[in-house]
Every structure is written in C-alpha cells, then in structure tokens.
Amino acid sequence: MKKIKFPLALICVVALFSFENPPYEVGDSVADFKLKNVDGKMVSLSDYKDQNGAIVIFDCNTCPYSKAYNGRIIDLNDKYASKGFPVITINPNDPEISPGDSFKEMASQAKKKGYEFPYLQDETQQVARSFGATNTPHVFVLEKDGQNFKVAYIGTIDNNSRDGSAATKKYVEEAVDALLGDKAISTTRTKAIGCGIKWRD
C-alpha cells in the first residue's frame, strides 16, 4: 500500500501545479472573480463592465505600507472613479495568521476610513494567486478591452511610500492618465514595495 501512496501523491502535486495558470503579466486578460464585500454583498469584476477599467489593489489593514498608502488609495478613487477607473481593494491575508485582517476588522477599517469603494475578502486567496499578487499594497490597473479587462500596469502606487507629497513618480496616476488620454503607459511595471501577503500554509 505504501508503495502506491507516494507516486499518487506526486501525481496530485504535479496536477495541482499544472492546473494553476501563471500569474498575470501586462497585456493579459483577467478572469472574472466574485468576492464578499465588507457590507456582506458579493462583488464581481463583471459588475464593472460599463466602466473604462478598474484600479485593483491588494491591500490589508495591518501592513505599515498599507497604512501609509491608505489616504492615497482613497484619493485615487476620488480622482478616478468618476472617470471610469474606480478602485477595488481586496484583502488576501489569512486572518488566522494576521487577526487584524479578519472580515470584522476589514469592515471596521472601511467604515472608519469612509471607503466609497469595495473592500473584498479573498478568503481562499485564489484571486491573489491568479493575479500573482505578492505584497500589500499591490496594484493592478485594468483597462476595458471589448468585453474583457486586461492588465495595463502592475506594481506600486508611487515612489515614496512614506510621504506621498514627496513622491516624484506617481506610477498609478500616470498609467490611468495615459489610458484616459489614449497614450502609451511609460512605466507598466514596478515592484510593489510592501509586506508579503500572509499565505495560508
């Protein structure tokens, strides 16, 4: 019996890996997802089909970088939601490892900060995995491409996590402005500086 177990386990592992698609690159189409918002309602990317795109941000309550960027994330939605690029935030952290990121804590954060955009819980962490998100905050600017959304920019919000007013490169704003002006995005990829996502083992 023992002799059979090992190759079986191996086959399962190999199968798991081969079913998992590689993470999104700039230009890739994004599969639809459906996650629970802090108000208890389900939100899908396809709910945004009438928009020009979306600014998807993997974020959390607990990371110092997320805290530092919180005001700037709210500002992004204020500036771009009316132009057809609303913000959608997704918390992928496992609340077992990071209790401050529980659904309850997420709801209280959204209320306290007056979020006018969804703050979704990625309970299975599958959405974060399919995007290839590694850190919080980790931004994916999506643009509408026919019936689909495709990735236009991946990375960090700007080049000064501590002080937004001192940032000299505002990558996300530059990307969305370029899309709105029908121009090429000059920087489509940066490293998302932040805290590693707390993956379930």
Binding site: N135, A166, T190, K191
Partner: protein, 158 residues
C-alpha cells in the same frame, strides 16, 4: 558618595555599549555587498514591524554570537528613517549584537534590483555572499529550520 558616582559612571558606560543603528544610503549598502574578504557575509533585511523578521532575528544573533571569523552578519533595517528611535529601542531591548544599519532609501524601485533582481520587495529577505568567490544565495522568505547553517556551509570556502 563616591560609590554612587562610580555606580552611575558604570551604568552610563555600560549603556553606551548597546549599539545604535547607523543610518545609511544605498552607496554604503552597495559597498557592503561588494566588500571583499574571506568571510561568508549574511545580510538580512528586516523591520521592527515585520513579525516573521523579528521571529527569525535570534537565528542571526546566534550565528553572530559564535564569533566564527569566517562568518559575518549584517542586519539592514527597512524601518522608515523617521522611526529610528523605534529601531534603537528595539536594539536595546533585544540586546542585538549584530551590526545594524537602517537603510534610508524610500524609492525602493531605484535600488532593489541592484541588491537582487528576483527580489519582489517583501521582507524578510536574506542575502548570503562568499566575499572571496562572489558566490551568492538569496532567500526572500522566512528561513526554514536549519536552513541558515546549511546555506552558510554551502558557501564556505573548501
């Protein structure tokens, strides 16, 4: 009375042994990465707010405590530079003996690839360098049990 003074003096001099983090720019980090010598240089990137980093610091401290002349440990704090007091308080509280620098370079995308191209930007991250051969190993996650010793061993000169 003189005893009191002696005690105060002793306390003051003892407390001055506890190190303070030295704030550096990337050029200093770069020279540490390029340093030539006969050691395996372990450079750990951490921050006081990063729980998994704090959890594994004792592993690096244990390596430092061995005083093995073939191994050198450097801790690079990525705490925000205006929170240096937090870092120093941490060093004092934990009695950190390994050399600590605080890297004051907020535009990570301008330097991170020069440390290691595969680094996604999260910590903990640890770079091991054989200063003689230039051979490197980079691990951007928590170290597993016994992994630190294994990597050091694998990079030691024969």
């Amino acid at each position: 009375m003189s005893n009191v003074f002696a005690t105060i003096l002793l306390c003051v001099s003892l407390s001055s042994f506890a190190q303070e983090a030295e704030v550096i720019k990337f050029d200093k980090l770069h020279s540490l990465l390029e340093e030539k010598g006969e050691q395996v240089h372990i450079i750990n990137f951490w921050a006081t707010w990063c729980a998994p980093c704090v959890k594994e610091l004792p592993l690096f401290e244990a390596i430092s405590a061995k005083n093995d002349p073939r191994v050198k440990v450097t801790l690079i704090s990525l705490d925000f530079a205006d929170e240096i007091n937090k870092v120093n308080a941490f060093i004092h509280r934990r009695k950190i003996k390994s050399k600590v620098f605080l890297l004051d370079e907020i535009d990570y995308n301008s330097w991170i690839d020069r440390v290691e191209e595969s680094w996604g930007g999260a910590i903990p991250a640890t770079l091991f360098i054989n200063q003689q051969t230039g051979q490197r190993k980079f691990i951007d996650r928590e170290l597993k049990d016994g992994e630190l010793e294994k990597v050091i061993e694998s990079l030691m000169n024969q």
